[in-house]
């Protein structure tokens, strides 16, 4: 009878209460992390004069790619022509390279905005193994001119070719419809504020290093560093070390404990943060020269020795920059004899060394 009484009392209580607090699989989903962002500056002062329409500013969280610059872009140029091509076709060797756009949210200048993250970064944007891996993200301010609600990433625009390798399967566009106006993390040679996500222990690597600062805490965190100079980075690399950050410039905080302030900047100086790279390991894909001259309009070119980090090469290649109006910088490499992967591949896939195309300038 006691159980009957208890049952009855509970039933009555539940009926009269009418206040079910069960949620099951429904209910609001709290974000895994929230980031506070504020955009500062005068948009009119940095906006290109030929940009039509009303700006639709957004901020995107973009996870960084692990990328190494190709040798030609980091070694001293061998000629003035080579320097011109490098200037036109090489991106900042220490710049932030995007891997994937995560979350996007509309922002208003001077008003804080919140980016809620509902999913962890995918494993392919984390560097390291399961016991120690980390990912870094940059917050990018952009004008969503194509209206798709997300930052569009672009890739370098290389010359068309009829014999230059397999067909391009990458769906990434070569044009950039969105205008980038700033990023919290644009280059390692400038002060940056980045979102970090860490799993396991932290191992300092050359993946956007911040040696001299403390290890990022587990899970999400907002990190800041003052940056290092390119010369310091090269000197440290030659010594087998990582360039050091000034510890006084280093901060770290929980994502919701600070507001990341991003200043508007002219798109020309920051648009590279939306440019992807095809090869992340500094390797070069070579092309076989076409019989007919490719369209090199608005591009600069130079004949250079194939650059290596070791002994100098005797092989001469033609390097061609992207067009002057391209959104993303890039180089295209032509060699008379060799393979896609290397000029020195044993049995070459093509050999025009005895009969170069008529347009071949080298």
């Amino acid at each position: 009878m006691a159980s009957l009484t208890t049952s009855a009392l509970l039933a009555v209580a539940a009926t009269t209460c009418g206040c079910s607090n069960l949620q099951g699989l429904g209910g609001a989903v709290p974000p895994l992390a929230s980031i506070q962002v504020e955009v500062t500056g005068d948009l009119a002062a940095v906006r290109p004069p030929d940009d039509p329409g009303t700006p639709d500013l957004h901020v995107a969280l973009v996870w960084g790619d692990q990328w190494l610059v190709e040798p030609l872009c980091i070694l001293p140029p061998e000629s003035a022509d080579a320097a011109t091509v490098i200037a036109a076709g090489c991106r900042d060797p220490f710049g932030f390279v995007p891997a994937r756009v995560d979350a996007n949210v509309a922002v208003t200048i001077g008003e804080p905005a919140t980016i809620d993250l509902f999913a962890l970064p995918a494993a392919d944007v984390l560097v390291g193994d399961l016991t120690a891996r980390v990912g870094y993200g940059s917050l990018v301010i952009y004008d969503d001119r194509d209206g798709n609600g997300t930052l569009t990433l672009a890739r370098p625009n290389r010359p068309n070719s009829t014999t230059g390798g397999p067909p391009m399967m990458d769906p990434t566009p070569t044009t950039q419809p969105d205008l980038v106006y700033g990023a919290s993390f644009g280059s390692m040679t400038a002060p940056d504020v980045r979102l970090a996500y860490r799993e396991g222990v932290f191992v300092q690597t050359a993946f956007y290093p911040r040696a001299g600062c403390g290890d990022p805490p587990p899970a999400y965190s907002v990190l800041a560093a003052g940056g290092f100079s390119a010369s310091d980075a090269i000197a440290a690399t030659l010594a087998g070390m990582l360039p050091q950050e000034d510890p006084a410039s280093c901060t770290q905080a929980a994502p919701d404990a600070s507001t990341i302030s991003i200043a508007l900047a002219p798109p020309a100086g920051v648009s590279e943060v939306a440019c992807t790279e095809r090869n992340a390991d500094s390797s070069v894909r070579y092309r076989e020269p076409d019989t007919d001259m490719p369209d090199f309009t608005n591009r600069v070119s130079a004949c250079v020795h194939v650059p290596t980090f070791g002994a100098p090469s005797d092989v001469i290649e033609l390097v061609v920059s992207g067009r002057s109006d391209d959104a993303c910088k890039g180089l295209t490499h032509y060699i008379l004899k060799g393979c896609r992967e290397s000029p020195d591949c044993g049995t070459p896939d093509w050999d025009h060394s005895t009969a170069p195309p008529l347009w071949w300038p080298c």
């Binding site: 509970l10 209460c17 099951g24 699989l25 895994l32």
Partner: protein
């Protein structure tokens, strides 16, 4: 048509085999399985007359009371008093759990069902058929864990929440009982359930397989 060798045991065997057969026959004759001491006798499955009270317990499964999907599994039991030939009343308790996931959540519901029951029943040989109505409450304890929350560094209520609620509920079960031996009975029951949850009447089902015992 038939030879003698074919029908007499041991007729075609060698001497050692014949000796073995004789020993086996003697041994069997001296074993406990003698006609008077058989393991299965006429009274082996004799049942005692059911009393007025009956206790039962068994395995329970059914739809969770407040989860939109999944199967709850657990245990349950009850007590029943038979008053007259066709009526019985009693109380039942069961506890079953179910864990289901969505993109964001992994939710575990533990359903404690407490019922006052009344039955219409009839005996048929060793069996009993009954239609049992149960009224009471289902106390649901909910545990929700935010998927990936631990990897993201969440803690406390951001990572996991719990809640408990008592929901009015009713069951209508068909019960089939078969007295097996002595005072023991095998019981199978099942049928629809109704739970008042979130201002709606939510249907479901429950089933139980168990054993009962009467003093």
């Amino acid at each position: 048509m038939f030879s003698r060798r074919a029908i007499l045991p041991g007729a075609g065997h060698t001497a050692p085999v014949r000796l073995g057969l004789v020993v086996a026959v003697i041994a069997l004759g001296a074993s406990p399985a003698h006609a008077d001491d058989r393991l299965l006798g006429d009274d082996t499955f004799a049942v005692t007359a059911p009393g007025a009270m009956q206790l039962d317990a068994g395995l329970v499964l059914g739809l969770p009371a407040a989860l939109p999907t999944g199967i709850s599994t657990g245990i349950g039991g009850g007590i029943e008093h038979v008053c007259g030939c066709h009526l019985a009343y009693g109380a039942r308790v069961s506890y079953a759990r179910a864990t289901e996931s969505s993109t964001a959540w992994t939710v575990t519901h533990g359903d404690l069902r407490v019922r006052a029951t009344g039955s219409l029943r009839t005996d048929a040989g060793r069996g009993t058929l009954a239609l049992r109505l149960g009224l009471g409450t289902t106390v649901v304890h909910e545990d929700r864990v935010r998927n990936q929350g631990m990897r993201a560094g969440l803690s406390g209520a951001d990572l996991e929440t719990t809640a408990t609620d008592a929901l009015p509920a009713a069951d209508l079960e068909a019960v089939v009982a078969l007295r097996v031996v002595g005072a023991w009975t095998m019981v199978i029951s099942g049928g629809p359930t109704a739970t008042w949850y979130d201002s709606h009447l939510r249907g479901g089902w429950t089933a139980e397989l168990g054993v009962a015992w009467h003093p």
